[in-house]
Amino acid sequence: MTPDSPRPNPHGGAGPSGGAGPSGGAGPASGWADRFADELLRLGVQPPRARRLAEETTQQAAECATAPDALFGPAHLYARHLITELNTAALNPTALNPTAFNPTALNPAVPKAGAGPSGGAIDPGDVRLRLTGVGKRYRRRTIFAGVNLTVRAGEVAAIVGANGCGKSTLLRICASLTRPSSGTVQRTRRVGFVPQDGGTAGWLTADEHFTLFGAAAGVAPRRARSTGEHLAGRLAWRPSRDQLTQHLSGGTRQKLNLVLGELHSPDLLLLDEPYQGFDQGTYLSFWQQILAWRDAGKAVVVVTHLLHDLQHVNQVHDLGATA
């Protein structure tokens, strides 16, 4: 689906840069436009519109005499950003022109301006995870029982509870890594799981992790690396080319974990206290990241024992209370 090497495919219509050709010429630019269009299609944009948006975006970069990736960042990330922007157009408090195109707000947490059926790419409030009567026993001992939890697109759910009440086990059940003793789990296919620790290989560099985890999700190496580096940047981390993961600090390793969980753009993110060893600044950007995911229509489940985190979440499931 994603072209690995740039195809010799000059994009039609939008006449490629005549004189003031920015860096690299048409080759890398059309690769970027293809990746951009691919991601738009994946997000549910109709093909003609995706093509038009890709052409226009290429043109915009050309008029700034900049390569598209320098102006907009990685193609697929900009595609998601653009769709989010266009879908929140109706948030502007201008009811002056009721005939104008007026898509519904994506995010149920934001007050809606114009109501109406969604024309957006992401259906608001789709159920991404549903646990029904889920329980877990080890031999005779019941860890928890009867857990019901529904998490929709654009929601953050927190699982709280004392040590040993089975928070991590419940999250592994959500990820289908552990089988529940009772009850059912329904969830979206594209899921990202960030364990509390582990999950990385000490003898690989960050880039090699990006490539490896990308390959597992069908993402081309170059795209996996650029995505990984971009996501790392949001956590104020610039991975060095040749540093092995075993030489990273604990906090930085957790950043790597977090980036790997998001690398393939999952619809549902499962996070198990992924902030061990984060300093204060990183911790704050971590929560900002969660809110950004939420606003982009992802469903997020985060295990935490820090109650002051909970001001931002849509629902809290206290596992200790149901045990």
């Binding site: 003031a20 700034c64 900009y78």
Partner: protein, 111 residues
């Protein structure tokens, strides 16, 4: 170059764009330069172009393609009638907001 905290600009970018386009039709890069020259902000492309598409999608501006002497053709935007109405409403809102802030800032200021 001025870079105000993002939330400030975020609320008023549409207003700024509509106002500049009422003065004269322009294309993306030209608008970015005018915003910077006015000392309002250096708006990154990833913020500016989605905003222009949003305005277009809402029927507030109308695009047209024009060739340029150097390089690729450009997409110029002009304000539509409904864009004009939106601009008037947003400008009134801005004035109320600005006067309110002015009043609060001036109230406790030493003379």
């Amino acid at each position: 170059m001025v870079t105000p905290p993002r939330p400030w600009l975020h609320g008023f970018l549409d207003l700024c764009l509509l106002a500049m386009l009422r003065e004269r039709p322009d294309y993306g890069y030209g608008l970015a330069q005018r915003l910077a020259a006015a000392g309002v902000a250096d708006v990154p492309g990833g913020t500016l172009y989605p905003a222009l598409l949003r305005l277009e999608q809402q029927g507030w501006v109308e695009p047209s393609w024009h060739p340029s002497e150097s390089g690729p053709r450009r997409k110029y935007y002009a304000v539509t009638e409904s864009g004009q109405a939106t601009l008037n409403a947003q400008a009134a809102e801005w004035h109320r907001f600005r006067d309110g802030i002015d009043q609060l800032v001036a109230a406790g200021a030493p003379r």
